[in-house]
């Protein structure tokens, strides 16, 4: 749910990174945090366990600049990927303006990708949102892994609506900003259509 503040001339949008455990959602945020100009970002908040697995969410506020005189802020969230944290995932999806699904390219994680995608679709429905219409981007992460599944095979299993997709290696930043930009674009185009 976009928050448009006419008084302070700001737009705030929420983008959620979704995907199975250890697929690289937090790594995406970490890369963005490391590379963005210090004036354009807030603190990266990570609610994680002692072993650095996301417990509740990671949060990164990002100020991208001005559009038509309005400061444009994106609040980036990740969900905990592990299956048993489903209650937390449902909470974090509330009010999402856009979703990025981070898929793990390793062969052994294909079923986990499919399960997580199905879980995303179910949890969006609970918010009266539809995976086929919400601003949505697919990221194929870990393309540098030796057993990475070919892109066309991944798309066959994971693509839901001819959405934009990006190949990525998040720890090296490959595809990270491209993915975010595509999602931000869809959210802003959505604002235009809603006007």
């Amino acid at each position: 749910m976009t928050f448009i503040n006419y008084a302070s001339r700001e737009i705030n949008c929420k983008i959620v990174y979704y995907g199975p455990g250890l697929c690289g959602k937090t790594t995406n945020l970490q890369w963005i945090y490391d590379k963005v100009n210090p004036n354009a970002k807030g603190k990266l908040i990570s609610l994680a366990t002692e072993t650095e697995r996301t417990l509740f969410f990671d949060f990164l506020p990002l100020e991208l600049g001005t559009i038509r005189g309005f400061k444009t802020r994106f609040h980036l969230y990740t969900v905990p990927g592990q299956v048993f944290y489903d209650a937390s995932r449902k909470l974090i999806l509330k009010g999402a303006d856009g979703v990025i699904f981070v898929a793990d390219s390793q062969l052994a994680r294909m079923d986990a990708n499919v399960e997580s995608l199905r879980n995303l679709s179910d949890n969006l429905k609970l918010q009266a949102l539809d995976l086929r219409t919400i601003p949505y981007v697919l990221q194929l992460n870990k393309r540098d892994m030796p057993d990475a599944v070919p892109v066309d095979r991944m798309l066959k299993r994971l693509r839901v609506r001819n959405e934009d997709y990006f190949e990525a290696v998040a720890p090296k930043g490959i595809g990270v900003f491209e993915t975010l930009k595509a999602a931000a674009r869809q959210v802003l185009v959505g604002l235009k259509k809603a006007s």
Binding site: F3, F57, P61, I92, G190
Partner: protein, 163 residues
């Protein structure tokens, strides 16, 4: 878009700031913050708040409310109307203004939980009225081109954000 955006107008923000300032003064609190349930800060007032990261505060408060709401449902409650976090020096009183808005009061030993609770009740009632007027204004907003600054967004505008 299949969902409703939240908007804030100058006039109503002035009213909200006045309510928060009065609440802070009447309850001798350090600060008062208004946050939407998705974690965006709407307004704040207070002294010596520079050291507090208010963006993170808003996001974490919304996460806190969301998770305690889910806990409430687990035990058969609709929601918890207020949450209190007691610290050694500073404490927080978090309450729901309506189904979209959270009011957070930061207070120390100059105030008390009882006083904050009492003043929050009055402020929340005033805030409900302001948000009703925002909803009315939003629903009366003329539709169509020119009604919103975002109708004219171009691809170049969007590209410039990532330049």
């Amino acid at each position: 878009m299949p969902f409703t955006d939240t908007v804030m107008f100058e006039e109503q923000l002035g009213e909200i700031n006045a309510i928060l300032t009065r609440l802070r003064s009447d309850s001798s609190a350090r600060g008062a913050f208004l946050i939407d349930r998705n974690g965006q800060q709407i307004a704040s007032t207070g002294e010596d708040l520079d050291a507090i990261d208010s963006t993170a505060l808003a996001s974490l408060t919304a996460g806190n409310v969301a998770s305690t709401d889910a806990i409430a449902k687990l035990i058969g409650e609709r929601e918890f109307l207020a949450l209190v976090h007691e610290g050694d020096k500073d404490s927080l009183h978090i309450s729901m203004v309506n189904d979209r808005i959270i009011l957070l009061v930061l207070f120390d030993e100059r105030s008390s939980l009882g006083l904050v609770r009492l003043r929050v009740r009055k402020a929340a009632a005033d805030l409900v009225e302001v948000f009703q007027s925002i909803d009315r204004r939003q629903s009366e907003r003329p539709q169509g081109a020119g009604a919103s600054p975002f109708a004219e967004i171009t691809d170049d505008d969007i590209d410039s954000l990532f330049a």
